[in-house]
């Protein structure tokens, strides 16, 4: 008798299941727990019960959400400084390694996890942040949790979960020039909706996915949550292994060999069934921008925003409200919309490859609008500076600043002023996400660079002619 074929997700889930309750909930082992300043609620819960952290050596802390990106590193706002100090204090009290302000290992949690080799195939990774799905790019079971669950993981190194349904998104065809993972992600979210993958674990598969570099895979898995998925994942392969080898916390020597052996089995069996299958043809995807206040409000750069009058009754009110907030006219072409500023950063698109893509557009050109470039980690910042990318951004007139979540979430004070329009490489165009009344258009880093150069939402492809 042969074992039933299993998906990658099934294999990872089963490998972490400690017990399954009669009601169907599973208690899962957590291999890596990443905490940040926002985890203060969870540490307060532990303190209230007099509990300690069960496995401090599997827990890592990093300052990112409130990290200042300008000045000498010391936050001026006492509330923000307090959040960062609280994290360091909690980490110290519980014996957790902390990459705090001033530590060269600091950066956005979903950038540094992979960069330092903390993120590995086959691990279950939790963090009190919805974009934890990023780590699924390595073939890990990685999902965001709330503060009560963070406290539970701290106290027990386990998490209770109901098994999600499975969904495979197979991407065939070929990505066009200057079209990448961000466009792929926004394309499927526009098609299925911001809750289209609710309750599902996504596996991305197909030739286009196999050809993505790790940065692209991370962008794609990162945005899984914007389509409502519980998590996203990609089977690990040679690209994954090459990325990880020699990373500081990655296994070495005999442990590396054992890991490689274990990782080889981390793929979906040929006949394994998914609860849902979706296919995308990459050849049909153009550079994409969002026009509204949800990531599902996305369209190709050569498209026109919807007209509420032409939409069905149940959506017209919603479209009208989004257009009103965004200051756009019904049916207008999205290209040519003037922007006030640009932002390149976030756990979605601030890796070295992202910065290179933006710099390829900006090199030798001037930005017509102000903007900020915040690298995904302090190490990415160093690497970019070694390549001279910082000079490209600065000569174009953009601010080259320190690493953190910055203007993606606006917690550290980096915000977009009310009514201002920002072309942004981030993940959420929610109302007020980048600051009250801010108008956010999501797009790839190269498209943000195109908006900077032209001062309007623009197709990046003509700007790259003869450059790449």
């Amino acid at each position: 008798m042969t074992a039933a074929p299993r998906t990658l997700f099934d294999k990872l889930w089963q490998a972490h299941e400690i017990v399954r309750g009669d009601d169907g909930a599973s208690l899962l082992w957590v291999d890596r727990h990443l905490v940040h300043e926002g985890s203060h609620h969870a540490f307060a819960k532990l303190a209230a019960r007099g509990l300690s952290v069960a496995q401090p050596q599997l827990t890592f802390a990093v300052a990112d959400h409130y990290a200042p990106t300008r000045g000498d590193g010391a936050p001026a706002d006492p509330a923000i400084a307090g959040m960062i100090a609280k994290l360091a204090e909690n980490a110290r009290a519980h014996g957790i390694t902390c990459f705090g302000l001033g530590d060269p290992r600091q950066g956005i949690v979903h950038v540094i996890g992979p960069q330092h080799g903390l993120t590995l195939p086959g691990l279950l990774i939790n963090c009190g942040d919805s974009h934890t799905s990023t780590h699924g790019a390595f073939g890990a079971l990685a999902f965001g949790i709330g503060a009560t669950e963070v406290a539970h993981v701290l106290a027990t190194q386990t998490v209770w979960q109901r098994c999600p349904r499975t969904m495979r998104i197979t991407v065939s065809g070929r990505l066009g020039p200057a079209v990448g993972a961000k466009d792929l992600a926004l394309a499927w979210i526009a098609r299925l909706g911001a809750d289209g993958a609710r309750g599902h674990a996504i596996e991305y598969a197909g030739p286009v996915i196999e050809n993505l570099c790790m940065a692209g895979r991370m962008t794609l898995c990162n945005l899984s949550i914007e389509g409502g998925a519980r998590l996203g994942m990609i089977a690990p392969d040679e690209t994954t292994f090459a990325f990880l080898k020699g990373r500081p916390y990655a296994p070495a020597g005999a442990a590396w060999d054992a890991a490689i052996e274990a990782w080889a089995g981390l793929r979906t069996d040929p006949d394994a069934a998914f609860d849902r299958e979706v296919t995308l043809d990459a050849s049909e995807i153009a550079p994409i921008v969002t026009w509204g206040t949800s990531p599902e409000d996305a369209l190709p750069i050569d498209g026109c925003v919807p007209d509420p009058a032409a939409a069905p009754d149940e959506t017209s009110e919603q479209i009208a409200a989004a257009l009103d907030y965004m200051g756009l006219r019904p049916g207008q072409p999205i290209a040519g919309t003037p922007v006030d500023q640009v932002f390149i950063g976030s756990c979605t698109n601030a890796r070295l490859e992202d910065l290179r893509a933006a710099a390829a557009v900006l090199k030798g050109r001037k930005a017509r609008v102000p903007g900020t470039v915040s690298p995904g980690s302090t190490l990415v910042k160093q690497q970019a500076e070694e390549e001279g990318l910082d000079a490209v951004f600065v000569e174009a007139g953009l601010d080259w600043v320190a690493s953190g979540c910055s203007m993606c979430v606006g917690m550290n004070g980096d915000i977009v002023a009310p009514g201002k329009r920002c072309a942004s490489s981030t993940n959420r165009n929610f109302r007020g996400r980048q600051g009250r009344g801010a108008r956010t258009h999501l797009m790839s880093p190269a498209m943000v660079a195109a908006a900077a150069v032209t001062g309007t939402l623009s197709d990046v492809r003509p700007l790259l002619k003869g450059r790449v």
Partner: protein, 216 residues
């Protein structure tokens, strides 16, 4: 957390889809301890204009003692911030009725005794139409998974695990403690069979990364 089975309170409609957690509590209000209360921050930018004046048309500003919110699809999508649930709970909301919820939000809600009641889109719309701009007394019963507003009786969907949890008000950490032995043996087996899953030590003291070594 206290469990509950039956809830009676005022229901109001908030007919907006995609109310994400950034709207439920804008990021700038999250640097305070829970003990200060998060109710004032709930849907802050929808409830107050730029100078802090309450927006009169906002249903939550028109009615006092609202316990049940009826809204549209994808409520609580986005960020995992549990503060979104704290804001609802501290404001007095005990149940949200909608066609769909963000997964992480819904789990956070249940962990704080707040019911995410999923209903068919058609029924959410009917309830929204029935409530209009008024607040109406409503009853929610976890035993029957039913909402009653006036003559209307609407069934809602709720994961049975969550239903039990809401009714019992159980704390997961206590529940998990009863599996202490299973956890200990799982950990031992994983250490033995998959030792590579434990992080290596950071090489040397201070910042001496593989990447920086490679660069030299």
């Amino acid at each position: 957390m206290a469990g509950w089975t039956r809830l009676q309170g005022q229901a109001v409609a908030l007919p907006v889809e995609n109310i994400d957690t950034d709207q439920l509590i804008p990021a700038r209000f999250m640097a305070t301890p829970r003990s200060q209360g998060y109710g004032r921050s709930l849907l802050h930018d929808m409830r107050f204009d730029a100078d802090g004046t309450p927006i009169a048309a906002m249903p939550l500003n028109r009615h006092a003692d609202v316990a049940i919110l009826v809204t549209r699809r994808n409520f609580g999508g986005g960020s995992s911030r549990e503060a979104a649930v704290y804001a609802l709970a501290d404001f007095g909301i005990r149940a949200v009725v909608a066609p769909s919820f963000g997964d992480i939000f819904a789990a956070n809600a249940v962990n704080n005794g707040l019911l995410p009641a999923r209903v068919h889109e058609r029924e959410a719309e009917a309830l929204i139409a029935q409530l209009g701009e008024a607040a109406q007394p409503a009853t929610i019963d976890l035993a029957t998974c039913e909402i009653a507003v006036g003559p209307a009786r609407i069934a809602f969907t709720l994961d049975p695990v969550w239903r039990t949890k809401l009714i019992n008000g159980w704390d997961d950490i206590d529940l998990t403690a009863s599996h202490g032995d299973a956890i200990a043996s799982f950990r031992a087996a994983r250490r033995r069979q998959a030792g590579w899953t434990w992080p290596g030590a950071w090489p040397g003291d201070g910042f001496e990364t593989g990447a920086s070594k490679r660069r030299r």
